[in-house]
Amino acid sequence: MAMVGVLALIVVLCLAAPLYAQQVAHTDPFRSNLDGMTVVNGKTVPVMQQESGGLGLGVTPIGPTWDPKHYFLGADNQGRDVAARLLYGGRNSLLIGVSAALLTCLLGTLIGLAAGFFGGVVDGVLSRVLDVVWAFPVYLFAICLSTVLLTNSLRVGPFTLEAGSLLLPIGIIGIVYVPYVGRSVRGEVLSLREREFVEAAIGLGSSSWRLLWSDILPNVITTVIVLFPLMIALAMLTEAALSFLSIGVQPPNASWGTIILDGQGLLYTRPAVALAPGIAIAVTVLALNVLGDGVRDALDPRAKHRTGA
């Protein structure tokens, strides 16, 4: 339960990002601010500080001030407020995680239902498609799609998807995980078809659609609901990885993955930039995993003593 609270807190904080940026920190999280000034302990200092030690060649962004009004977590190499970017980035990370997981579950359920229920040629074709995507390493598949789609905008007929659109990472991550859901749903449908209540419904003269809609689907939905939090967790980790490889969310937009990438160059001087979003991801994903375990125990009590949680 505590983990659900943590999760809710993270979501609320991220949703409040504009409030924080405009009302508290007075900062624009997307524009570089290389010669801006800020206040530390009542003194006005530049955001990008001249290196005092060493050769004095570079400038270093200001470190964490722990003052929510002035660069709470310090600045990144563009002089932008890391705390504000963290909150804005969290919105994108969460949005991509949830939307991609929704897409995965929707497509996976449809494909799994069709393959398991209709069998024959339909099953043959769909199962082979799932097999191929399953055998294709997730990151490589995502890299292929991203390299092609993110360099140039995608145009299909009258529709244009801009290269920087969030829909691209959502679509890519949503598609690569479809077999995870599709295969379990298909298996579930196959075993449901053998059950007595389905036989009874057939005996009563239910049509295929009615059978599918009111007998099979409600029983399959449990499986999908149990998978959903885990798919969000997976999607968020994948988004972070893709953004870290600069093929996820595109600048100046931010996500927790891109902020870790921003922080990579500053790792030894200003570790907070990379540490903070990583902790945010780990806590969110941990909460989602715990939530997933909880949902499974609630919906499938038999599994409870297996995991002992």
Partner: protein, 323 residues
């Protein structure tokens, strides 16, 4: 068994074919932009574009283009990069492969040992605080992004605590070949191994624990208890043994996936020039021929690994062969 082997081989070849077609379509037939411009890299001049069109037969029909690409990748093996003019791609992949294999093999050894210890301990003491603690540790391992964990390890071992006795042995980031210095190889890989192993140790410990607990309900385990065997003996000799079959079939899949790309992030963070780093570097300068080669070879490796796992599984568990 022979029929099972034959059928599995046929399906393996079909999946390889399908993946190669999929990769080909992604790179050559995605709507939006001329594939020649994609392959030639950013800001290529007209002459390069013409060369690309000629080399890849882009004015010819799709199946011919596909066949040409496959020929360049697997038969003549003379696919060249246009970003690094004239650099042959396949030798780069071959050079990078041992690095990735070293990384994944070492990490696999660590995570197998760690997860079996954790899983068995948790199953033996199930319901106790040791069980809860181990499973929470596993869950934390699963939840951290591996590249971020790598950066934290770098921060501690290369910078913050590099001068203390704990991390003073850590060499600068990079890879030392085994043939050059076995001890240097070990030192350069120890932290990347541990980083990569943390994630998988967590997953595998949880899986092993739940399948061992599940096995405890099986009839043969009840029989074993009825024969008067001690609980530990039943757990280790009966539950663990059957649980390990499923465990290692999953292990095969993940091992293949790691060699085929999932280790990419670890390689990038620790500066190890394996297949993943090669893919990453070519991603940075849009060197598509290198990406295509890496993806194709890695995906094929994964498919072969999966097939081998299935065969091994069928050999261990004859029930599978009947399907």
């Amino acid at each position: 068994m022979l029929r099972f082997v034959a059928r599995r081989m046929v399906s393996m070849v079909l999946v390889m074919f399908a993946i190669s077609v999929l990769v080909f379509l992604i790179f050559f037939a995605t709507p939006g932009v001329d594939p020649a411009a994609r392959i030639a890299g950013r800001n290529a001049d007209q002459e390069t574009l013409r060369a690309v069109r000629h080399d890849f037969g882009l004015d010819k029909p799709m199946p011919v283009q596909y066949a040409l690409l496959m020929k360049k990748l697997f038969f003549t093996r003379d696919l060249t990069s246009y970003v690094n003019r004239g650099a042959e791609v396949i030798p780069q992949v071959e050079e990078a492969a041992p690095v990735t294999l070293s990384l994944v093999l070492g990490a696999a050894l660590i995570w197998v040992v760690a997860s079996i210890l954790m899983g068995v301990l948790a199953a033996v003491f199930r319901g106790s605080s040791i069980d809860v603690l181990l499973m929470i540790l596993g869950l934390i391992g699963i939840s951290m992004p591996v590249f971020w964990l790598g950066e934290v390890v770098n921060l501690l071992s290369q910078s913050r605590f590099h001068d203390t006795f704990v991390f003073s042995w850590v060499p600068p980031l990079g890879y030392t070949p085994l043939t050059e210095s076995p001890f240097g190889w070990f030192k350069s890989l120890l932290l990347p191994w541990l980083t990569l192993a943390v994630l998988y140790a967590g997953i595998y410990a949880r899986i092993l624990r739940s399948s061992m607990v599940e096995a405890q309900e099986q009839d043969y385990v009840r029989t074993a208890y009825a024969k008067g065997l001690t609980e530990h003996r039943v757990l280790l000799r009966h539950s663990l043994r059957t649980s390990l079959i499923a465990y290692f079939s999953l292990f095969g899949l993940d091992f293949g996936a790691l060699v085929g790309g999932a280790a990419l992030l670890t390689e990038v963070v620790f500066g190890l020039h394996g297949i993943g780093k090669l893919t990453y570097d070519s991603l940075q300068n849009f060197d598509l021929p290198v990406i295509m080669a890496c993806v194709m070879y890695a995906a094929f490796f994964v498919v072969v690994a999966n097939a081998l796992v299935d065969l091994l599984y069928a050999w261990l568990d004859p029930r599978v062969r009947v399907v």
